[in-house]
């Protein structure tokens, strides 16, 4: 683990992994979308709307998996002051928020024709909405300090407190009466899905995961660069007058 705490070593590893992640993502996306739209059957009850599942379920898995990796990275960052782990958490959060939004939007578009409503305040839907708010809260908190190091530390603590929501999301469909159906893939006794639907779903899940890996490697590299920019700026500000400071582009958002 400590071998990767060195940013230079991480950058080398990341540059080597990135093309593979992108390649796997593009191939599995193509295959997954083809299977999902053309080569899988309509459901006997839900008809063609079942094709929304191939977006919705992988997005929901990613929403939780990304958060789980952030929680692990937060522990590593807090306990061992692992630089790359801290920056990884910051890099992953917007991606997790994106997957969570996609999960909620696609779920709503599935709920309207099948349940007759866009939204209900049942335990599953509400706990996933809370997950989105935790992601957004993290993103605001981590940039709210003048000292980025303090922001990262506060963000790590928030991530760990928010991790209690993950088992609540997972077991919400068992603990409470929900309109949302219980688990049908990851459950005791194996998947309750026919292979003709399970395969497109699993391939789309691989595609989303590979895409996330590609993006989070890029974003972690950017965070490392931003850290270096900050220290160089401080160094130049000390050794030179302000008029000599370079014109730097400001962040977009």
């Amino acid at each position: 683990m400590h071998r990767f705490a060195n940013p230079a070593r991480f950058l080398r590893l990341s540059a080597a992994l990135r093309p593979w992640a992108l390649g796997v993502a593009l191939l599995t996306l193509l295959a997954g979308v083809w299977l999902a739209l053309f080569d899988s059957p309509p459901d006997y009850q839900q008809g063609e709307t079942v094709r929304i599942m191939y977006i919705h379920v992988p997005a929901a898995w990613m929403a939780m998996m990304v958060y789980a990796t952030m929680a692990v990275a937060s522990v590593v960052g807090l306990v061992w002051k692992h630089v790359v782990a801290e920056l990884y958490t910051k890099a992953a959060a917007p991606l997790g928020a994106g997957f969570t939004t996609l999960c909620l939007v696609s779920g709503s578009l599935w709920g309207q024709p099948m349940w007759g409503t866009w939204w209900v305040w049942d335990a599953r839907l509400t706990s996933v909405l809370i997950l989105l708010f935790i992601y957004l809260g993290y993103m605001v908190l981590v940039t709210a300090f003048d000292d980025p190091q303090r922001g990262l530390k506060a963000g790590a603590v928030l991530t760990l407190v928010g991790a209690v929501n993950l088992p609540i999301i997972k077991f919400s469909v068992d603990w409470w009466n929900t309109l949302h159906q219980p688990a049908s893939v990851i459950r005791l006794g194996g998947a309750a899905l026919d292979p003709s639907m399970l395969w497109p779903l699993l391939i789309m899940a691989v595609a989303f995961t590979a895409l996330f890996v590609w993006l989070v490697l890029l974003r972690t590299e950017t965070e490392i660069a931003e850290r270096r920019i900050r220290s160089l700026r401080l160094a130049t500000a000390i050794t030179a007058g302000r008029d000599e400071a370079p014109q730097l582009e400001q962040p977009i958002a």
Partner: protein, 56 residues
């Protein structure tokens, strides 16, 4: 073909969900690549400036 796009009468829901996925994933990729380009340029400028200073 028309039957495929009709999605058994659920076209609006199915295609909106796939459209949302395309928007979200390309949006994240575009934002990520733009941020990366900007920060690499900034880092290069700073490193050049430092190089010049050392020569003086």
């Amino acid at each position: 073909m028309a039957e495929f796009f009709a999605m058994g009468g659920y076209a609006a829901y199915v295609w909106s969900a796939y459209g949302a996925a395309v928007l979200m994933l390309t949006g994240l990729a575009v934002a990520t690549l733009a941020q990366r380009r900007r920060s690499r340029r900034n880092l290069e400028r700073l490193q050049q400036l430092r190089g010049r200073r050392k020569q003086v």
